[in-house]
């Protein structure tokens, strides 16, 4: 069975981009290592044929930093079936007043929020896999 493709945005300018990236790594490297994988968003947006071929028709999860939704839109444009749409900025609504860090470093609470997001994504990966079975 194919792995679920988890693609974070690369948001270099904001802490939410780093949170999206780290959440994706936590999922694909630890929480759902056997059932998920990541692909570089830049390869998708530049239309790399090998990569878009891999994405097309496959179950995907997008993790965006902000409302620009670069990952979500790019996955859809490449023909990916986006079954989970997450935004790291939305997690901040459960942590009003928290300072998650910067685009280079996360604070302790930033890591906590990222881990919570990663846990939700891992659950979604699991759901997608079960659906496919």
């Amino acid at each position: 069975m194919s792995k679920v493709i988890v693609v974070p945005c690369s948001g270099i300018g904001k802490v939410y981009g780093l949170m999206a990236r780290e959440a994706a790594l936590a999922v694909t490297d630890h929480l759902a290592k056997e059932t998920s994988e990541t692909i570089c968003l830049a390869h998708i947006v530049t239309g790399d044929e090998e990569v878009t071929g891999k994405v097309c028709g496959q179950s995907c999860i997008s993790i965006d930093g902000c409302a620009s939704l670069c990952s979500f839109h790019s996955l859809e444009a490449a023909g990916g079936i986006v079954k989970g749409k997450f935004r790291s900025v939305d997690e901040m609504r459960f942590h009003r007043g928290a300072n998650p860090g910067t685009g280079s470093d996360l604070t302790e609470v930033g890591w906590q929020i990222t881990d919570e997001l990663a846990a939700k994504i891992a659950v979604k990966v699991d759901e997608i896999q079960k659906e496919a079975k």
Partner: protein, 287 residues
Amino acid sequence: MTRSFAVLPCNGLDKSAGCIAREVALQICEAGESELICPVFYRLAEAKYTKLAEEKSLLVIDGCATRCASKLAAEKGLKISEKINISEEAKANGLALSDGLRLSAAEVEFARQLAERIGQETKTAQQAVTEEKLKFPAELHFQTYAKDKFLFKIPDNAGFYFNENDVWAYVSGKKARIGVTDFVQHSLSDIIYFTPPVVGSEVEQFEETGNIESGKAVFEIISPVSGVITAVNETLIDTPELINQSPYEKGWILEMTLTAFSDDRDLLHEFAGYYPVLKRKVDEFHV
């Protein structure tokens, strides 16, 4: 004559504000032909309440700032006709909410008065129905100022006024629509929270009326004009990022009926006066 609603209270069982919300909902329904929507059941099986929500005006009663009932209504795509927030009403009426879950006598009386007030047709409600809607331009024309990779847009359509707190008002007759400028949304970056003002409240020029918050800062919305708030952009509660995406159009914040515009305008800028203010701020501030 009492008004008839589909009433959606929050389900806050763990605090007195939620219990009061329930009490207010029950009293409204007992007093007339309003009907109750159970928020828990609605979340699981909306079919039971679909017809009710279509036929009657929706009254949402939130207990606190979490606004669970409002969020549920937005989730279900319902149009909210009226809403109240128990915590805000209590604060406005000088009532200190108890820590317990059984309502005190003062809280019961507060609930009764609130239910009575909502249930009756008021002069303000009638005015809101008969008043003309604000005519907002179909198309805005912008001038821009660029700094690094950031473009700051300001509309130069007639009718736009700005205060030095970077809040705009579009004035049309006796009505105004209010929002924050592109400078504010750039400075704040991703806006995550919107705390709206209370519809029906009276605001003086330069008084705070609600706020917006990002990970960087809280921005108090300083009203450029005096008036009575007649509408709030409810969609911002769940999608505050509309202010970032479209600060002059989809991200509008509130509307009001003006009460002193002929005096207020002396302290406001139109486009020509605001543009240099914006430039100075942009040049001084690293976004």
